[in-house]
Homo-oligomer: 768 residues x 2
């Protein structure tokens, strides 16, 4: 387990999080806590149909209800342009983004917004929704990716045409995009294979399930400036998306991020912000909207259901020679599933000379999918890692040994092109193989042990950090990264390490779009990596200025020893002559001159004034993350219920800045993966209505469902980061579904090809 090393004083320790007290006492201000003078409460009317044409909307009765201040429909939105806009790092079609926020001519899923009300309280607003008359022409819904891909399927977007291998075609279809990644010659590879396994898999729609629902408070001020307070993974992305939808320059939109009660990728896209904004402009007052849990399930981004075909071939000695996959992902009502990421991850733990991966992004009458922790990779790994397990079995190999034999390492190429820098996949396999868990035999009936690996590429993107130095030697750190998993601490720790001061002397503050430079979302496992990188650079900017000032102060006449005699001489001191280590600046040309960090800060006012360091980062040295998980299960043969007996998650974390938070990220990812694997799914009726849209009916794992999840942190520092950081938050959700499928197979002899492997599904398999 990582601890502070000789190399580092702060990194690797486990200090208290700066926001801890506020969160445990309830003082932290979440979006739901927003109160502004004269504030109205908004509610959104949502479609009862999964697919319908809107023939008319009559809001007159709702507007007449006492307490209702305004009612809006799509007519109150500017006409959205049908063009791609760069919102954050992702290009998004503005028209489709806007149409998801408020339905235009058609509703495309049950829960799609069709109107909104602002009233003096939430009850009146709710009542007013019932007075809005919407006339629909109900259309047949398409609810499954394979159905949606059929030529005769009802079309969601009548003018949408397929993009085929990068080329726009004129084929009208629900297939928005077909992409392909190719390496080597897969057909030739399969001819050389001694063993080939080909299987198909299905995964269900799953929700991010953050505790805090979406919310937005907006004030469209009389001077035309729009203020938004919201729960988001990235204030600047909300700013850009809202500006595009509302037709404003970004500089006219200020977004303040409130504390966030979980996001997991689901709090990146805007839902309520533009609605609250337009309600505010029409009503002339601030408006707050908070979603109910039903709205969360029915109208915010789940992760896609998918259908995946995988074919893998190996030589007798276990060496993989070819792999092919076809990933069909539901995008929901608008294009943009994470199928591309699934393609990039599906075979990436392995060095395979010949590969082809096809991805299909397919619209269906379900809510538009959103990112969810390593988006797309879990679906993919369920398929590929189950096939790997079957290959190992067929070859009579230990499932970790076949991974050790084929594991990717520095210099190997991914199917999507990049060559790996120094990575730690093999180190995770070694650690798993040597772990006491794996060495301990699992005995007893209906029990089985499964393993699986996973990959997530992680991202860099852009971050800004400003460090202001206080006279008492402490510093204030200003950042734009939403703190979800403890990043106030992990970023402050990197600044402290660079500055050579204690962690407690760094006070981090997360501010909104008016207070800091552009910073991308907290997502893609980028924050501790990229914002931490910026914090390090901002710290260097502080030290650089201190050295410049000390050089000026020390420059000039000084006592020198010359031929045994002390004499005075003029010595030119440049910033390069000033060193800094262990909290002390020294003059390389005069051992008698030194000042501590705190001495410098105490004298700042007499040495040129305050010191502020700034840095923006867009780091290129992103380090991919690998994990290998081991799980033991027992399957109840009478009910199909799967009980997890033991779970060990091994992961290359690069450098664990704050090991407790790294462990927490891993445990959290595993828990969510277990939910996907064993219980979670959106259950739809034939009309496309979700029938389990509550936490009573949508079954997420609780602490009662799980043993203590053990983590093993393998540290293979990322050479592309000054402290070796890799992202750690996403890859832990990748292996669990496959690991559990493999464990259930070992317990039951039945291969799982569908998730969730709920008791009913498992029981059916047992009875096959």
């Amino acid at each position: 387990m990582a601890e502070a090393t000789a190399e580092y004083k702060v990194i690797g320790t486990r200090p208290i999080r700066p926001d801890g007290a506020d969160k445990v006492t309830g003082r932290a201000v979440y979006g739901g806590d927003m109160r502004l003078t004269g504030m109205l409460h908004g509610k959104v009317l949502r479609s009862p149909h999964a697919h319908a044409r809107i023939k008319s909307i009559n809001t007159a009765k709702a507007e007449a209800l006492p307490g209702v201040k305004t009612v809006i429909t799509v007519k109150d939105f500017p006409v959205a342009e049908d063009r791609m806009a760069n919102l954050g790092e992702m290009a998004v079609n503005v028209k489709l983004l806007s149409n998801n926020v408020m339905a235009a001519d058609k509703v495309l899923y049950k829960g799609h917004a069709v109107a909104a009300v602002a009233a003096t309280n939430a009850h009146i607003a709710e009542e007013a929704l019932g007075l809005i008359e919407v006339e629909y022409e109900v259309l047949p819904p398409v609810l499954d990716v394979l159905d949606a891909m059929k030529d005769e399927a009802p079309l969601l977007h009548e003018t949408m045409t397929t993009t085929e291998l990068g080329q726009k075609t004129d084929k009208r279809s629900n297939i928005a995009n077909h992409m392909r990644f190719l390496l080597g010659d897969p057909a030739q590879g399969f001819r050389e294979a001694d063993v080939v396994i080909e299987r198909e898999f299905d995964t269900a729609t799953v929700h991010q399930g953050y505790i805090e629902p979406h919310n937005a408070t907006a004030l469209w001020n009389e001077d035309g400036h729009l203020y938004i307070w919201t729960s988001t993974q990235g204030a600047f992305v909300v700013q850009r998306q809202a500006a595009e939808i509302l037709g404003l320059p970004v500089s006219q939109v200020s977004v303040t991020p409130c504390e966030i009660g979980g996001g997991f990728g689901g709090k990146i896209s805007v839902y309520l912000e533009p609605v609250a904004a337009i309600l505010s402009r029409k009503a002339g007052r601030p408006v707050k909207i908070i979603m109910s849990r039903i709205e969360e399930f029915e109208a915010t981004g789940p992760t896609p259901a998918s259908h995946i075909k995988v074919k893998m071939g190996a030589k007798k000695d276990g060496r993989l020679v070819a792999a092919e996959a076809s990933l069909m992902y539901e995008a929901g009502a608008f294009p943009g599933s994470p199928v591309g990421a699934g393609c990039m991850c599906i075979f990436s733990p392995y060095a395979i000379p010949n590969m082809q991966v096809d991805g299909y992004d397919v619209v269906v009458n379900k809510p538009k999918t959103a990112a969810y922790r390593a988006p797309g990779a879990t679906n993919a790994a369920f398929a590929s890692e189950t096939v790997m397990d079957e290959l190992a079995e067929k070859l009579g190999m230990d499932p970790l040994e076949i991974r050790r034999l084929n594991g990717a390492k520095e210099g190997d190429r991914r199917v999507d092109g990049p060559t790996f820098p120094r990575i730690g996949y093999l180190e995770t396999v070694h650690a798993a193989l040597e772990h006491e868990h794996y060495a301990t035999p699992l005995t007893g009936p209906n029990r089985g042990r499964g393993v699986a690996s996973g990959f997530w590429f992680n991202v860099g993107f852009q971050s800004t950090v400003v460090i202001n130095v206080n006279a008492d030697g402490t510093v204030s750190l200003v950042e734009g990264s939403t703190d979800i998993g403890g990043t106030r601490a992990s970023i402050a720790m990197q600044a402290a390490e660079t500055l050579g001061i204690p962690y407690e002397d760094v006070r981090p503050t997360v501010v909104g779009t008016d207070g800091i430079g552009f910073t991308d979302v907290t997502g893609g496992s980028r924050t501790t990596f990229a914002t931490g990188y910026a914090a390090h650079e901002a710290g260097l900017d502080v030290l650089r200025q201190m050295k410049e000032r000390l050089a000026r102060r020390w420059d000039g006449e000084m006592e020198k020893e010359f031929e045994g005699q002390a004499e005075r001489a003029t010595v030119r001191i440049t910033p390069d002559d000033v060193t800094y280590a262990n909290g002390v600046f020294k003059c390389a040309k005069d051992a008698g001159k030194s000042m501590t960090f705190k001495e410098v800060t105490a004298q700042m006012a007499r040495m040129g004034g305050p010191i502020t360091g700034r840095a923006t980062s867009q780091p290129r040295g992103v380090g991919g993350a690998f994990a290998t998980h081991i799980v033991d299960v027992e399957v109840d043969p009478d009910t199909g219920k799967v009980t997890i007996l033991r779970y060990t998650a091994v992961q290359d974390v690069g450098r664990a800045i704050h090991p407790s938070y790294v462990e927490g990220q891993i445990q959290g990812g595993v828990v969510q993966g277990v939910g996907w694997a064993l219980n979670e799914e959106f259950v739809y009726n034939d009309n496309g209505n979700m029938v389990n849209s509550s936490f009573l009916d949508y079954r997420m794992p609780t602490t009662l469902d799980l043993p203590m999840l053990k983590t093993v942190l393998v540290e293979v520092p990322n050479p592309g980061h000054p402290y070796g950081v890799r992202g750690v938050g996403e890859v832990p959700i990748v292996p669990p579904v496959a690991a559990l499928a493999n464990a259930i197979y070992r317990a039951t002899g039945k291969r799982m090809t569908h998730s969730p492997m709920s008791p009913g599904y498992v029981l059916n398999k047992l009875m096959e």
Copy 2:
């Protein structure tokens, strides 16, 4: 009148203020608007006696009142150390600062805080004050500076000894400090004089009279961190003062400045913040306190009453040869009157070869004085400028001509040492002499015209500015300077000018101590000067980074004309080869290469990521400000009431960044000076109780009392600032009292030696 010049595109224009809409619609959040969950309301019990020993305080009955959550006295404060601390730019004795916030063993003025209550509402808190039993031993008060200086005067601080000309003595006295400034040989100078005038003057205690009362909301969090929201001229000074009084490191105190409804120097020192903090710590909840107007008058910083002797000598030709002054200023209950500033200003409009100025800082049983717009200078100018008027009369000279003859200019020395850089005093005198107002004869009975000049040195101090660049070519500017007089605009304008972008493209935000580097108070007329300087430097930092990026982009192979033939050559481009003018970057080595500012910002993400500029300033090139005022009055011989017929204020403003705000500052300063001159004073009874502590009885001028105040902006750019800025906000209050005294003399033949020259005083003079 200054307008945009060919030289500048933004400076000199009159755009709308960024905070305008919020202020006219009532959305701006002032301290009184603070609401926090569970917030309690605090009230302060204040001494009914001007001077008394506290024998006991019994809070039991108050604590027992339902709704009261806690009661505090000085016992709940840490024992304050008797030492000087550098709080902002001023060294302050921590013990005395603390004792002013909460009385220790003695109360030293009526209104001195002795206890405080926090309760669930303000009415219960008020009621609880009445239940606190305080036993006093009443002592004789001393209420006048001359009485206080007597050997037999009651001593406020029994252990306080006089500092005499920089040396600590062991003399126990109410005279805290006697300072002296000397230039040349005044005795010799007076021997050479043909005319000598010597007079004595008195000025009354006057209040800053800002509309918004003091307020403070504090939350002492469970993790030990203290949050303060308050109306202040400087969040960092509140942070430092509160930290000292409470015995906390500054980094444990976060101060958020709310909008401010006027300060004028009176919102620098803390009063309520430490009280609300300790109430919050004891109650475990946030606490808000707002002062009543009576508390404002009785317990917050007025400007000192004073007694001033002035002696000036001139040759027959009007040339000044010697001047002496003795300034005795009331400090209030604790040392620290602005007498030093009065000494620095009293003779500074003139080049006089021989000068001596003595200053006395004297404690009396009145509230501790605070800064008030050019603190100390108005009292001083009343005395010196009246004597100048009498000298002119005696010599048969025009009062502006004697000023033209003796006016200070670049290279002349001030009594306190510094030599003037380029200043614009003579330009103000010329402009007054040539003004239509001065050229138009004043006729009619009981009418008179007066002139007077004034000087304020202005200050620099420290500021920090961060500029974050948006992709659409706009920027966000983060600053720590409280915006009182439109400085969001005047600082944004300087940033826009430097960046070569429109004013509307700069969005300024004032943030608290967590969000920006150290920034001194908005005061001393420093903000547009010093924070503007930092904004300019931060803008240069942005341009520097853009040039670096463009140099990298443009570096390398390019098409070159060589002997009439186009050929490709490798050309090294450094940042020095990149020019920027009129919003366009160009390459000095290749005319074909250019990019606009907006083109660069649109491509930032592909050119190295976001750009943030930062600068801290501690500018040394402070430019002093001079003003010359002309006023016409009519005096009612039956009542003594003075009516102002016409007023023209001429001022060297350096460079008027936003001329409307400069004019507003001048008009505001004149109005306040008129109040001092004609009506405002604290009226005390013999017990030291102020008997006019309300806006009904304390008479401030209203628009009905004044004609339109005309301003003349003379622009002599300050060579110490990139845009020539001098401070403009303070010097306009300096001449009015003297100008009015001189006008009344011309109308009545009576010399005024006391301010206010209220109807009663003038009538008495008329009846002499």
